[in-house]
Structure formats: C-alpha cells, structure tokens
Amino acid sequence: MTLWEVDIYPGSGQVDRAAEGLKADAADLGLMNDLPIAVAHGYLVEGDFDQTEIENLAARLLADNVVERTVVAQVGCDSLDKSPNGNGASLVHVLPMPGVTDPVAQSAMTAISDFGKPAAAVRTFHKYFLGDESNSLSEQQLDTLCDKLLANDSIEQVIRGPIDFDRLTFGTPYEFEPLITAIRELDDDGLNQLSKDGQLYLTLVEMQTIQAYFQKLDRDPTDAELESVAQTWSEHCSHKTLAGRIAYKDENGERHFENMLKETIFAATVEIRKQLGDKDWCVSVFQDNAGIVRFTDNYNLVFKVETHNHPSALEPYGGANTGIGGVIRDPMGTGMGAKPICNTDVFCFAPPETDAESLPPGTLHPRRVMKGVVSGVRDYGNRMGIPTVNGAVYFDKRYLGNPLVYCGNVGLIPHEESFGDAHDNDLIIAVGGRTGRDGIHGATFSSAELTSESETLSGGAVQIGNAITEKMVLDVLLEARDKKLFNAVTDCGAGGFSSAVGEMGEKIGAEVWLDKAPLKYDGLTYTEIWISEAQERMVLAASEEQWPELEKLFAAEGVEAVAIGRFTPTGRLCLKYGEATVADLDMKFLHDGRPPIVREATYTPNPVTPVELPPATGVNYNEDLTNILGSLNVASKHWVIRQYDHEVQGGSVIKPLVGIQNDGPGDAAVVRPLLESRRGVVVSCGMNPRYGDLDTYHMATSAIDEAMRNCVAVGADPSMIAILDNFCWGYTDRPETLGSLVRAAIACNDMAVALGTPFISGKDSLNNEFSYFDDNGKKQTIAIPASLLISAMGQVADVSTCVTMDLKNADNLLYVIGTTHNELGGSHYTMLQGNDTGGHVPKVDVQLAKATFAAVHTAISSGNIRSCHDLSEGGLATAAAEMAFAGGLGAELSLDKVPSSEENAHAAVLLFSESNTRFLVEVEPTKAAAFEAALANIPHAQVGQVTDGSEVIIRQRGNSMIRAGINELKEAWQSPLDW
C-alpha cells in the first residue's frame, strides 16, 4: 500500500483567503505582522492506488477545478515541499492526532469507495509555508506561531517539514487481560494515591467506602469496577456537593440542608405545582435528561442548558463543538426522544484585548478562545439544522483560565412520547458513533480544578464532534420513536456507556457485552470501552420483538445500531468481555452507596460603599452613554449572531437582530416550531456576574427578573414561563464560595415561588478556578465570578401579537414602566468608573414584579404597545439609545417624570441605574388610554416621545443631560466586536 498526499491550493487568480485570515489573526494576537504565508489543505490517502487513479480522485472529488489547483505525489516526494512564495519558507503540517475525530476524512473515505476502490485510511491536514527568502523565521518564532496560532496540541500534531510517516493505519488488536487493583490492603495514603493516579478524583472518604465494600465482598475490584464507581460518583454525574448536606450560615442565622438543591430550587417547583393544582403545566421536572412542560394539546416542550467549560478552556473549538452536540442529545434522550427546535448559547470570556504577554502559562488567548468557541458552536449547531436564536456574551478578566460555555437546546415532543422506561430483559442497543479512546475521564476531569498542567494530563478528555453523525441519529431516532420500536432512550454523555447504562438500568440491572461495542480502531481495553465519552452515541432499550425492525430501520439510514447487552432483572451491573466477567457490582451500591458529602457554607454580606456622582448641574452624560454602548457586555454581538443559522426549520418569528436595518438588539427570540400553528416559543436569558460581587442573593433574583423581562418584552405570557438554572462557581470546598452559591439558590427559591415561575431543570459546574505558578514561583489562582445563568422559555398564544424593541413611528409616546432606585451597584456606569464594589445592588420587589409582568403582557397582547425594551445593562439611557438607533428614529425624553423611589433623584441614577422590572415602551397616542388602563396599578409614566429626527435627547429640568446622534451611538455600539 502507498501513502499518497494531495495538496490543494487556491487556483491561479484566486486569493489565498486562508492565508489572509491567518495573517490577520497573527496581527491580532500581536505575533507577527506582514509575514508572507501560503496555505494549502489536503488529504493523506493510504491505499492501492496508482498515480493516475489518485490524480483522478484529486481532480474529480477532492479539489474544485474552478477555484483550486492540486499537487499530487507520494509522501516524501520533493514536489510537495515547494512554497508558492518561493524559497526560504518554513514548512509546517498540522494534522488531527491519530484517533481524534476527523469528519472530513471519514466522509472522504465514503466518497472514495464510491469511485470504485476503497482507501485503507484517510487523514486531512493543513499545510503552511511561513516566510520567504527575505523573511525567514527563527525556530523560536516558529514555535510561537505553531503554539499560539496554527495548532492546539491537545488534539493536533505538528510536523515541521515534510510529512514524515508512511502509513496511517494504527491500533493493534487488543489482547484481553483483566486488571485487578489490590485496594483492600491500601492505607489512606495509598487510597489517595490510587484516586489521583487513576484520575478517579474521589475523596478519601469515598475511597474508604469503596475499600470497605470490596473488603466485605472479600475480593479486590477490577479497574472497570473502580471506574464505574468513579464515574457515577463524580461531581459531574451526581452533583454531590449541591445535592449534599450543607450547614449554611449568613446574617439571618443558620440553616441545615439534607439536600440543598432539593430543598431550594426543586422545592420551589414542587410548591408552584401544588398551587397550580389541575392547572399545572409542568410535565416532567428534574428527573429526565431535560425538563418538560406543556405546549399545545398535542405537544410538550423540552428544555435543557449544559456547560462545557473545562474542555473549552483547553480546546475552544472542540470543547464548544461537543458542548452543543452534547446538549442537543439531552432533549433527544428525553422521554422517547424530542425533536430539537432551537439552541441558546451563552459565553463568558476574558476581554479580547488582553495583553498576550500577560497570559499565565497553560491559558489560551481570550480572542483565540472566543473565535474557537463561536466556530465550534456554529459548525455543530448549523450542521444539525437547529436554529441558534438566543445568546449572550459576558466579559470579565476572571474568565481567563476558565472561560464558560453554556449551551442550551429546546425540543418538541408529543405528549404520549414524553416518558420512557427500559423494561426487564430489554436489549441494550448502542446507536450512532463508534467508541474510541476519546474523552476518557471527561466526567471526572470536569469535576476537577484546572491547572497549567491540565493540558498534558487530560488531553484525552478533549474531543471533536461530528455533527452529521448526530443528525443521522436524530433523523432515524424520531422515525423509530414514531414506529414504537423501542422503550427508552438516553444519551451517552459524561461517563459514556457507564453512565447511560447505569442510569437506565438503575432499577433493573444490566449485563453488558463490551466486546460487542463497535470500535473506531483496535486496541481499546474493556474499561476504555466502558468509560469512553466518544460523541454522537445514544443507548436505546428495545425488546426482542422490537429489535429486528429497529435494526433494519437504522441500517436503512446508514446508522450503526448494535445490541451490547441486556437489562437483566438482577439489580446488578455485570460487565462481560467475551466469556469473562470484568465487573459485577450491586446497582444499589453504585447509585446509593456514595457517602454523603457534608460541607460548611458561610456568607457575610459586604457593607455598602458609596458611589461618587458628578455635580447635579452643568454636566452631560454623552460620553458615559457612548462608553457604555461600546463596553463589551453591551456592544453588538452581530459578529457572533450572523455566523449562526437562526432561521432553519422555517419557524423564525423574532430574530436575534431586529429593527429597520436588521441590526438592533432584540430582547428574546421567538420561533414557531409547528409550522401549521400560530403558537410561539420564546427563549431568553438573564445573567449578572457583576452583581454577585456585591450580593449573590440579589444577583440571582436579578438574573431571574432579567430573563423574565426579556421574555415578556417580546410578548410571552408570564404565567407560563419555565426557567433553568446553571450555576458556574469557583472552588466550593471553601465555605465562603459555597456560601455564596447557597445564598443564590435560596434566592432562586424565593423568587420562583413568588412569581409562580417553575425551575424545570438545571446543572452546575463547580471548581472553576485556574492555578499556575507565576514568574516568582508563587502559586496564583484565578476564580471565576459567581456566574448564575437563568434561561427562560416562554410561550405566546399567537405570534402576530409579538413586538420588537426598535422604535416604529415619530410622535408615538414613550413610557417608562417600573420604579428606578438608586441602584448603581454592579452597574456598567460604575464599572466604567473602575468601581467594582460601590453602590447598592439592584433588588427585586417580587410582588410588584409579578404584577408588572402580567400588566405588560396584557398591554402587549391587546396590541397597545408598539415596541418594548427591557432596561438592563446601562439602564434607561442605554435602552433609549438602542431603541432609537434600531428604529432609525430620534427620541426625546425627560427624566423629570421617571418613576423613582427618591425625590429629585440624581440624573446619573435615573439614566444608568440598573433597577429591576423596568421597561421602556412605545405607545401610539390613540392607544395611550388603553395602555394606561392596563398599567393602572403599576408605576409608569410618559417620559417622552419618538421624533423623526436623528438624535436621542434626554433632559432633566429642561437641561440637556444627553444629546447624541443615533448614528454615532450605533457606531459606538457596533464597532468594538465588529471582527
């Protein structure tokens, strides 16, 4: 067999845009300016081809004759090393590491076979010629370019010079050898060492419990048994900290939790459902892979948001890619399988202008992280054919070592398919992608703190997804569901088969035939098969009667489905490799045997410190407003949004960008998942990490209020909004850190019950801290700010009643709804003054909030509001500016009548305070009376009107506080992230 190389270059007259992009990136990262670069991509093809055959493949399949040219030769041939830029260039190849998913290579294999002769193996690569005769690079410069720009060594290999191997096939057949760990004789140090060396990430008490279990059995465990326990007991799978015992203390006294989540967030939902009685619209909460609520007479909605932070820190593209891929499998694995209908993605990064020289070792530049994460989500979400309709991006330097990637998905499921259960003796069917060594230890790894060493230690936990495999699974899964060909389904997420089979068989028992699992390549041990987190896999439970037809259907769509075991009613988890038993555990021990975690949690409120305000007269706030609009959290995210397909599936109603030029910041997205129906789903979010620095209780209520405001602002019915919590926190073994989380959870309970807004699912990601040794050898730790994301899913009976935030017509009236308080704490106004801790944090008056949401909804659904925008980051002034430039109209406002809790409030407070539960709305003069009637019991006031000018003018007592052109304001808002 021969190894051929096909290099593909831009054709003559074509711009080398890949090189141009690379040059721009190099300049952005401060690496290199004006370096001559030429880029090719290509294929390594191993097989029995001659030169003519391979040239035919290159011309007819791999390259495009109109815009590309090829160089084809056997690996090692000189003709492959010639730079288009002449002599003196350094040649670098970048390839996915062996075993890393290479979707293009997989597809190319399929297509090559169709030409008549299959290839033994294919790999893709990129080829870079850096420099030229007058710009040659030093070894050190090359190192930097490879490391910072061209490759990520957690998934890619770099070859300097020509490709230096002559075959692609790898993996040697596995020879079965059971591994037993002598745990019974270990002392405590030995147990700790075993946990660490085996990447089990279990505590001493947990290790002792395992030891005692096997001492009682009078035998030692196999590696598969230890791994099964470690996966099931991992923070990622069991949420042992938050679902554990916590002794909490704050200024109100002490409180003891047996199960913190159950007694706060879950308890709120239980209470709300009780109050709703037979009007309860929750269907399934906190039990399946995603929460389920009622939508129409025939369909329910499913919603889940997950995080994929640790993998994204190491490999942003792959981490985010598999993050969205993973969360899509949650609705697919809920009930009997839901159809995903839209995505929501929220990211937290360090500022992209971070100095490259200041990066701690082991971190990637935030700009590279952001570009990688956005591309990763884009490529997976778009390929799945799921519109990404909602999102947000937050910036804070504390996300440098731990960027956050929240990925969410909404699904649609028929009522009768909303529940599924494996039956005794059902077959365990593995479907979708094959199992490889990818993602080993993802579940335990994601529960650990990151260090500058993580990259080398846990590289295997990072993966690349293959969206098309998942799309094929989705298509055939829904067909199989509708044909009633299985009894239960779940996804293989963290922990792989170990978690999926463990969960499905928890109440029954399971026997798994590990040697039957389809593998990507030879050489996997039975334990690797069991805990691999290879992507795009799901597990079904099907009876012997269902299986033949199920197998046929999957084959017809080219999706692999293999029986790998049986749910045997034994109450035991039994793993086999051939005839040998490699694990035999009591399901009860696995799921209930973990010793409860008991933790201390404390919270001490910070004293309120003052905010310095400018003199009451003689100042204007034009510059403050432009600075806020141009601050990263507020600035337009169009660079991100436009890379997502937000209209696929044909149900788009309110897009993420709205207004006269389709570029204003919409409050929430609306989609119509049933094309024959007018009923809409509304998706929004709320998050305020800055408020958490002042008080996590009010941060949490503010996040819920913001998510609700956004939803209600476009027309959602506030009595049917379901919310999700995603806690991303620092190291919760520290009582103060855990205390700040418990406080937020208590707030979630209080707010949800008061609003009647149920939490239906949630997830947490703890220990988001990054440690490294600085230049002086001193250990430094960066902890993320308390980051609670609230995602809201609302409903609107008829989408034609929805409104957007862009101003519509001159002479319409502008009203402020809600009361403004002196709450500049955590605001963008104080942030830009460099004051991170001063001022009062915004609070929520929950009873008033509930009434306000209801009244706004009445006014919108009866057609009395023309446009509506919630007041959030940057307060009233920012909202007014956004509404004006999105509508291409002017606005004149007076602060004098703005409802305020202070008499003669300071202009800065009225303009920029971020008090909750407020809206700025546009009302036609003829609808003013009806609007005011709807808002009768809610603080509101007419504060101005829309003009046909091109300025935003805001006055106080006749003095101009802000006077700025909408084009300038828009430019300030659009330019910072206009990449």
Binding site: S107, D114, K471, A556, I660
Partner: protein
C-alpha cells in the same frame, strides 16, 4: 388542476427538508421526503414525481466541499435518472445545499470537459458562514420558478455560496443565455456596485441563482421556504411582512407549471 408530486431528496445532513416540503404543500403540491438511499436503491422511484427538490442543509457535513459528495454520488449512480427527469420536462429545484449539489453533480450546467465544471460555488469572501437577508432581482425570462417575480427579499444562510465561473467567456455565455437567473442587488433595487453585504459572498456578477438552458432546472443560494409567512420577514413588526410570504411564489410557480 392536477396535484404535482414533489420528491424532497434528503441525504445525511440535509436539514431543510421539512420546511421545504411544507412550502410545497402550502403551494398545493404533495411532497414526500425521501432518503437518498431509497433513490439509489431504486432510481425508478423518480418516475412517480413531477418535481425533484434538493433542499438546504449540510449533506455529508459539507465535508470535502459543499455538495461535492452527493454531487459525486449523483454523477456515479443517478445521472441517467436525472437526465430522463429533465427530458420528461419535469422540474428540478435546488436550494442552498441543493444548489451546490446541482452545480457539483453537473445536472444544472454540463461539464466543459468530463468532470470539469464550468462554474462552482465556493467559500464566501468572508470565509465564514453568514445568515442575513438579501435583496434579489430576477434576470431571466425562461426560469419557471421566477415567473412573475421581478424583485424579492429572502434570507441567505451559507458559507460556500460564491458563484465563480471557470472563465470570463463561460460567465458571459451564461449571462447571454439568460441562465444567471437571480442576482443580488442593493436595497434600493439598483444593480450597480453591489458590495458586501448586499452581495453577501462575493459572487461574480452578483449571481444568487442559476437555471439551465430550459429554465426548468433552477438552483439558488437564498431560501425561499424561509419566507412563506409574513412573520418570517425580519421587519414584520414594522409592517413590512406583507400578507403572504413572498418566497411562496416560487413554489406556486412550480405547481402552476403543471396546472
């Protein structure tokens, strides 16, 4: 009027099949979503249909190049089937990825030399996927799908949509033959200096859609099925959605062709 039957061909990674079928049904056709494997197993299946539609998506993930792998499968296995379909004066529509497949399979524009395409759809100048609405003008008297359409506003959502011909002569020949049927124009309808983002990908001569010499085979990058309801329009809350989505007309034209 007879109800024409539409074969909506879905391959691994196709993702606009449901809404495209819905659009055809709204227009009065009967649409079936059929997996490519079924047609490969039994090419005669095509005989039952009057319209073949290749909807949008990412067939085979856009791996190798958008539309290339299905294009290659068609060249190897379905070329005669589709030739017969065309000879029977039936209609073929390719939207977005479907257009990419029609181009790369040689179905829409015959090869200049065996396997040598006269034109291609390649990476946007921005080198990335983009979703935005574009103004379009029809530029063909023969394209069945564009009958009665002068200007239309539709969303595009693609990464590889830049139309490039293999030579200036080919481009001119296509233009003279009325085959460059749909073009990006400025918001005011003018066709001079159509720059990014009005021309969202850098297509030569602002080409957004191409038909064959008969006008019965048509491929376009924008998505007409995404504007068949007034609330699809990005500014419907400003009263700009009209009473019916303008994209529906293309599907109605296809149905009416058999009327």
């Amino acid at each position: 009027m007879a109800t024409p039957k539409v074969l909506i061909l879905r391959a691994p990674g196709t993702n606009c099949d449901h809404e495209t079928a819905f659009a055809f049904e709204q227009a009065g056709a009967k649409a079936d979503r059929v997996h490519l494997n079924r047609l490969l197993e039994n090419p005669q299946l095509a005989d039952e249909y009057q319209i073949l539609c290749l909807p949008g998506g990412f067939s085979y993930g856009d791996d190798v190049a958008a539309g290339r792998i299905v294009g290659s499968l068609i060249r190897h296995h379905l070329s005669d089937t589709l030739k017969k379909f065309q000879a029977d004066e039936k209609l073929i529509l390719g939207i977005c990825n479907g257009f990419q497949i029609l181009i790369k399979s040689g179905v829409l524009l015959p090869d200049v030399d065996e396997g040598e395409m006269p034109a291609t759809l390649t990476w946007n100048n921005s080198q990335k996927f983009e979703d935005r609405w574009v103004n379009l003008a029809a530029n063909s008297s023969k394209c069945v799908f564009l009958d009665g359409i002068d200007e239309i506003y539709l969303p595009m959502a693609h990464a590889e949509g830049k139309f490039v011909a293999e030579s200036a002569e080919t481009l001119t020949a296509l233009e003279n033959a009325g085959q460059l049927a749909l073009k990006y124009v400025n918001a005011d309808g003018s066709s001079d200096n159509v720059e990014y983002p009005a021309n969202p990908n850098g297509a030569q001569m602002n080409v957004a859609g191409v038909c064959d010499t008969t006008g019965r085979v048509f491929g376009l990058m924008p998505h007409p099925e995404r504007f068949i309801d007034p609330t699809h329009h990005p500014r419907w809350t400003r009263g700009e959605g009209g009473t019916v989505g303008a994209g529906l007309k293309m599907f109605e034209n296809a149905v009416n062709y058999f009327g």
